[in-house]
Subunit: 144 residues, 2 copies
């Protein structure tokens, strides 16, 4: 029962991530993360520490309208005060300079419960790369 | 105390991953993973199910000598029968066609304890990509 409630709480956080992108609300997004959490992001560097509201805002501002984020194949594991969620994500929308974004990527999200509240303690988002010598990021993949 | 023992058990698994690469022992590597586990790998597709000994062997065979894998900045979170490890990894060695590999990437490894034994239930390895329109994978990064 407790596990069902916790899984539901964690799925709600994923919905909040998507909603914060739709609303381009950087403060709302950052509040879902533990401060100084370790992030392995789509963009360099290899590793970042903490969500910076200013940086998120600046990135949100490069989009024309809402950023659509859809979760697919969500899989959650829970034990004690720790949770792991894996999912495939579809990001779509229009950048201000005109580019139409239609990108599938993978996300691993680790959460920890503090006084009954789940916070993201680690997030790893990425696309694979083609090992054909081209050094191209695989931005054109879809779920199989 | 139990937590210290478990953290040590998990660090031992990371050492086994590195050793299996050094020895190019595909069966030893695959045995560290739960069958049918979800993998977000450096290479496409977006998501794979399970470690295939034949596929790993074929990849190991593309290397001239040992594959060196070093872990840096390892961070482990543990609760109940679930563990999450994040790390930066340095892979180096020589491919049979002559290329010298010297690559830093990130790894998120999720483990679960079954009857006292920790198995990898999810692994996410990646490099970021340059969001400069070049669509290049960031294969030249180093820890900051």
């Amino acid at each position: 029962m407790s596990s069902t409630i916790d899984k539901s709480a964690i799925e709600t956080i994923l919905q909040h991530i998507a909603q914060a992108h739709a609303d381009k609300d950087a403060a709302k997004l950052a509040a879902l993360y533990k401060p100084a959490t370790r992030l392995f992001d789509l963009a360099p560097p290899l590793s970042r520490t903490g969500m910076n509201v200013g940086d998120i805002s600046a990135w949100f501002d490069t989009w024309e309208g809402p950023i659509n984020l859809e979760y697919q194949d969500v899989n959650t594991e829970l034990s004690g005060n720790l949770a792991i969620t894996t999912a495939l994500l579809h990001m779509s929308g229009k950048k201000k300079e005109g580019e139409e974004v239609d990108l599938w990527f993978r996300a691993t999200t680790c959460l920890k419960q503090y006084n009954g509240r789940w916070l993201i303690i680690h997030e790893h988002t990425s696309v694979p790369f083609y090992m054909d010598g081209s050094e191209r990021a695989a931005l054109d993949l879809q779920p199989e």
